[in-house]
Symmetry: C2
Subunit: 231 residues, 2 copies
């Protein structure tokens, strides 16, 4: 009775989920540039699936805001503006401010240890200057911290914004200076959390997101990462 669920977790995951993740990844990494039209038949062939699960995946992407539907024209990958980035980080920061009290209220010694373990891992990745690994660990660190709050709805909001941020995460972490500061800030976060210092954490997180946002904006402005393909 109980081990059946383990089987499921691996092999009988619906195709739509896989399609969803693949497409999401392709959009986030820019493989499918903004403005591109996603023609169902073409992508269904490419992913070796039928249109049905593909369409269901597209509906989720639509709801995520990564693509846009046009009647009888299908989906188009959405373009991003400077204002978008600003809003995304604003929301992110506001949500963090909302859950910080709960994080402090719920945090346990085990959770602190868990965070420190992640940090230890990140230390080595930082020394190796392994940006890809850091990007993943970074998400893990923030995710672990946020989940302590147990505010599932707010976490859902954060998660939905996350999709957009990922798109630019590579650029943020690519900045050597920012990477160094952010790494240090992560350590400070756990220190402050251990001391249950709400105000300190508020200030630090605000600063942390503000810096990330600026790095993003700079990267975007200079490299013109945001492109609109008419097509």
């Amino acid at each position: 009775m109980s081990f059946q669920s383990f089987d499921n977790s691996l092999e009988s995951r619906p195709i739509r989920d896989i399609a969803y993740e693949q497409l999401k990844h392709a959009i986030i990494t820019g493989q499918i540039p903004a403005g591109s039209r996603i023609v169902e038949t073409i992508y269904a062939d490419q992913l070796h699936i039928s249109r049905t699960p593909l369409r269901e995946a597209l509906r989720r992407l639509e709801r995520d805001g990564l693509v846009e539907y046009v009647l009888h024209r299908g989906v188009v990958v959405r373009a991003f503006t400077i204002e978008d980035i600003d809003e995304i980080f604003t929301i992110r920061n506001a949500m963090m401010m909302l859950i910080l009290p709960s994080i402090i209220a719920n945090v346990t010694d085990e959770k602190i240890k868990e965070l420190r373990d992640i940090l230890k891992q990140m230390d080595t990745e930082y020394e190796r200057a392994d940006a890809d690994a850091l990007a993943i660990s970074n998400r893990l660190f923030h995710g672990t911290m946020e989940h302590i709050s147990d505010k599932i709805r707010i976490l859902r909001v954060i998660d939905s914004q996350e999709e957009y941020i990922k798109r630019f995460q590579a650029t943020t972490i690519a900045s050597v200076v920012r990477r160094s500061n952010a790494h240090q800030e992560h350590h400070e976060m756990v220190d402050l959390l251990e001391k249950r210092d709400l105000e300190g954490l508020k200030t630090l997180f605000h600063h942390h997101f503000e810096e990330s946002k600026e790095t993003c904006l700079n990267a975007v402005r200079t490299k013109k990462l945001i492109e609109i393909h008419d097509n």
Copy 2:
């Protein structure tokens, strides 16, 4: 060439959209109680559509958080807890605080007039004690106000939370006392907006949401609106 689009607006709206709205409405009003399983074939027959568009509608509801998917078991209408309501209003309030400066910055005389027109409509509905009409106008009023900010992402977050709130809106508006206070507060909002009084608006909105939340919580606690059907 141009009038073709008018045809579309009415008849060629995808069935999935209609199915989505019908199901959403049924869930929000409690016609389909929390915990119910939504069997695709049954609902497809009932709505006189095929499973394909129905499934796409269900994916959107899933993303909205109104239903939950279980592998090979289909969707189940989600149950709501006191904590959910608290979080929802917390998010709502935080988002409003974020966009209020933009609302003040962007507001025009025409927009103020638009709001006053809605208020005038609401006055008559209030006198008639037409709760249903008030519920709709209430949404229109808040929506109009929020859209002045032009912060599309934050509006999207507000909108996604709205789905949950609607579920309890009926009970909020059912309270005679609350209805009276809320009605007065709506007038004050426009007055403060006309004066570009940011702090006043912040305080008023905070109060407004806090009161709505309490009314909701009371209604839920006493009437036990939140039911979990095992099934």
